[in-house]
């Protein structure tokens, strides 16, 4: 199951004032606390964190919310996907995810562009784009689609799988669900 969480809404609830900026570590911790409380009662496996309506995102807040949720999700068989991410927010997210050697799939704001943010290789990003464009694949099929060696495709898919951006079922890799 997939559930969308609006960060703008959670921010408003967490700080009880009409702020539009996700800034400061204290605010990030308050927002994450609310999201974790929601997730604790949920039975869905994919959570879409929606940045629509959020203005500034600073590194401290990005670290508290996104990095810590991803670290927690890894141990609970859950997937976190970022949606509605603007270019300037992407910078902050790339920074904190790379810092923790994390990665996440993201749908960028105002378009159909989907990408992988954070600590992944260029090959993993290409592999994810290929899975999104042409459908699930095992390593030989992906290698054929991208004109790669089998080993190169295996490494890229393993990278995506480790970051929970693609899920393997019987050797076939499915990209994470995005709206």
């Amino acid at each position: 199951m997939v559930q969308t969480i609006s960060l703008q809404t959670v921010l408003r609830e967490a700080v009880a004032t009409p702020y539009r900026d996700l800034v400061t570590r204290a605010t990030g911790a308050a927002v994450r606390g609310r999201i974790e409380a929601t997730l604790a009662l949920a039975d869905w496996t994919v959570t879409l964190l929606d940045f629509s309506g959020v203005d500034c995102l600073d590194l401290s807040c990005a670290d508290e919310i996104v990095a810590k949720l991803l670290l927690a999700a890894a141990s609970r068989d859950r997937v976190v996907v970022l949606v509605g991410v603007r270019d300037d927010q992407r910078d902050a997210l790339e920074h904190v995810l790379a810092h923790h050697r994390l990665a996440a799939a993201a749908r960028l704001h105002g378009g159909d562009t989907t990408d992988v943010l954070g600590w992944t290789s260029g090959d993993a990003r290409h592999a994810f784009a290929a899975l999104r464009a042409h459908g699930p694949a095992d390593a030989p099929l992906l290698a054929a689609r991208l004109d790669w060696t089998l080993e190169r495709a295996e490494v890229a898919l393993e990278d995506l799988s480790r970051h929970r951006i693609a899920r393997a079922t019987g050797g076939v890799f499915h990209p994470v669900t995005l709206p």
Partner: protein, 299 residues
Amino acid sequence: MTRVVEVPAHFDDRSFDQFAGWFGDWPSEERVLVDARGCQWGSPYGLVGLLTAGQALVEAGRERPLFTVPASDDVRRYWARTGFFAHAAELFEVHGRVPRSAATGPSDVLLDVTPIRASGDIHEIVGKIQEGAARILTGELGIEAKATMGFAMALSEACQNIVEHAGTSGWVAVQAYTFRRRLGRRVVVIAVSDAGVGFRRSLESTQAKRFGDRWGDPTALEAALIQNVSRFRDPGRGQGLAGIKRYLSRWQGKISIRSGTARLAIVPTWDEDVPLVDHLPFFPGAQVQIVIPAQHAES
């Protein structure tokens, strides 16, 4: 007895050490008179530094310091416009005529002198500054529009150092002006200052052992600004200054941090500052200056 502390005629990050030197041993046992009568110009760094001096003396339990306002009408008007005198009146016994401040539409003051006490203050300033920052950054400095949010991020992270590490409140001001002497271009300057424990004491419990005999104000600044070290054991900490450096490297910006008796800077090619200066006159807390220059020379 009264100790007279002269405010330099051109009061900025460079002349700040001269100002700090007048205080002698800190905190002075004598009552302090901060004499700004001869000041002809004060940068945001100078203004927040003045308030920090007053705050530190008050927090150290010393007699309320005296402050004489600048003789120049223009300087007084401008300082009033930044909100400086309203805050100074809470910390100093102010002597001299202070004009009433009147904000009249867009100006080079992007953010008045503002106290930072808690994270809510940072929300307020980040929300407040975005429109003015976009106007100056894209309109005057030739920086692409999407960089405005990076600017707000840098401001937020700089202010958070006060909330997270200083152990007391502090001050921030943001202003655009022309850096005639050093650069001949328009710049936006963020100045943040606090009267707190400073970088050395903040990092001492986790870092002093690692540096051994070398431990002091310069190595504490090096740990924080160059090595992105934080006093917290949380591995996510220490990214704020790293993020500021990354933003500044994109726009040939400069950051300098003064704490205790040292100052460390990441110096861009347009500036002649030295990266590290030690054995400066002591000044309490930490003072951060971030400078973002116009991408093209003024025509």
